[in-house]
Amino acid sequence: MNPANINSLFFNVNGSGLGHLNRCLSYARRLKGSAGLTFFSLASAVEIIESMGFDADYFVSHYWTDNSSYAWNCELALRFGMMLERVQPDVIVFDGTWPFQGFLTACKAYQGKPKLVWSKRGLIKEGVEKTPVSESFFDLIIEPGEVGDEYYETLLAGRTDHFASQFIPSRVTKKIHVPPVCILNDDQIFTREKARAALGLSLTGKYILCSLGPGNLKDVSSIGSELIELLTGGGYEVVWARAPISVKDAPLLDGVIPIAVYPLVQYMRAFDGFIGAAGYNTCCEVVQAGIPSLLVPNTQLADDQSSRAQALSAYAPVLVSSCETSSERALAVDDLLELVASAQSNNLPSYSPVAMNGADLAAKAILELAKGAQ
């Protein structure tokens, strides 16, 4: 249904996890019923998009392809151009660290002149190469905030008209910083009983969920194996979440239960505890689910996962450990199981409620921009 006849096109890159796709889906879900919604996905997860009721096409990511950056961008421009001419969007939302040359070329060449939005997660580590793409190229910048962040707006004076490539001092780019962007609202997360039933888990069993990422960039199998042994030694069954975009599944020890569900947060309350990397969406979901969690920051990426994870302890029962050595892993698991025991005896501190409605605010801004484009 598209009563206002507004078309939105989402472009999500393929990162180390599903974070970029997750944010685009978060915006799109809030826009359902208000706009036509289509995805151009570099993440190998199209069935996830379609299962949520959106149309999608797929193009192989630059991380996966063997092509040079130039050849890949040339092909991207053509493929995305075809999509633009079909969907005829009023607004395009790009979620990624670096808007690609192929993406920008296609946007410039397309005759429809849609509004451009850049969803740009922050908390980038110092020393990481900054993207040469100017924010002033976009009509709206959305900064998905970290847990505890509040909404604020700024205006960037002087905009580049991307279709004329002219810098116009009087025009502005609106920049909004929103609270965390989550794919589900709190009331959409399954209760413990419902989640266990959906996953086929015993209502009385003791389970820890492990979601250390796809393993495409960081090898998680060795860390995972040791953690699994420690957890099973502690009397817990381990459930291992398999990411859709993994190119190779980590071999699992006997007795480990693999699951492949999305969104994972919907099922998190099934578990007594959780172990995961400290990516943006995982951290948001840990706070939403409220279960005792051990976060293992991935230091190979551009975002500062260590800082993000450390900041969470004010909002949820969270521990942080790099788990790089056997002794660190043993200590981390001991601490996690102590936290689990505290939760089970209702002995956890109370945490202040925190705004998690970033997706709603961002979707509202996107819709206002799209309406203004018509």
Partner: protein, 225 residues
């Protein structure tokens, strides 16, 4: 729904005529070298047109090399190593063609609760067919029992969204969705584009009976090379 044979006819047409896909796609979305970026207005700027004419002249005279229009597109993936002279092969994995495959369906592993059993059964047929074909390709590489990087770069052309499986398959996937909108069907347009992009590549069915020549090059029974 288009057949594999019809797709092959499209490929042959592009080879025979040398034409690009219709609609001016290649011209509109061409990436220019940075030093030649001369955007002046909303449409393709006049200077850009003049630059392109000049560049074409220089290409014809052999002074410069053509870019983009004939830019090589490699279908190989970083996580699926192939030999430098590996050949691209297209695999026709459209839903209609897969339904009639005579393949035993493995038991439901039960760890995809979001899929109903009917959907899972259909996907299992495709998955098994892909894995059988992959094993067949691998056996062609298994010279003297040692693993070799593949001689083949498979590209799956499909309208079935099963990307969690495809991620692990190690094949490039060219997906053909039907998108709502006006004008020419997106499915048809993209299909024609793929026929042009991969115009010289053989296309086999998922169920193709494969034979190998003495050099361990693979062909399907109804060979297309």
């Amino acid at each position: 729904m288009i057949s594999r044979q019809a797709f092959i006819e499209m490929q042959k047409s592009f080879v025979a005529t040398g034409k690009a896909p219709v609609g001016g796609l290649l011209s509109r979305y061409e990436i220019l070298p940075r030093y030649a970026t001369l955007d002046l207005g909303r449409d393709i700027p006049l200077r850009t047109h003049l630059y392109r004419i000049g560049r074409k002249l220089l290409n014809l005279l052999g002074i410069t090399k053509s870019v983009n229009k004939n830019a090589e597109w490699r279908a190989s993936l970083k996580h699926a190593p192939v030999l430098s002279d590996a050949k691209t092969i297209l695999i026709w994995g459209m839903r209609e063609g897969v339904i009639n495959l005579d393949i035993a369906i493995p038991a439901n592993s039960g760890n995809e609760p979001h899929l109903d059993s009917r959907t899972k059964s259909k996907l299992d047929i495709s998955r098994q067919a892909c894995l059988s074909l992959k094993a067949r390709f691998a056996s062609s590489d298994d010279v003297n029992g040692a693993f070799n990087p593949s001689k083949l770069i498979p590209v799956l052309i499909t309208d079935q969204a099963d990307f969690a499986f495809y991620s692990r398959l190690g094949w490039l996937v060219e997906y053909l969705p039907s998108l709502p909108g006006s004008g020419e069907s997106y499915f048809d347009r993209k299909l024609a584009y793929l026929a042009w992009r991969y115009q010289n590549m053989p296309v086999i069915d998922l169920s193709a009976e494969l034979v190998f020549n003495r050099d361990l090059e693979v062909f399907s029974v109804d060979a297309l090379l």
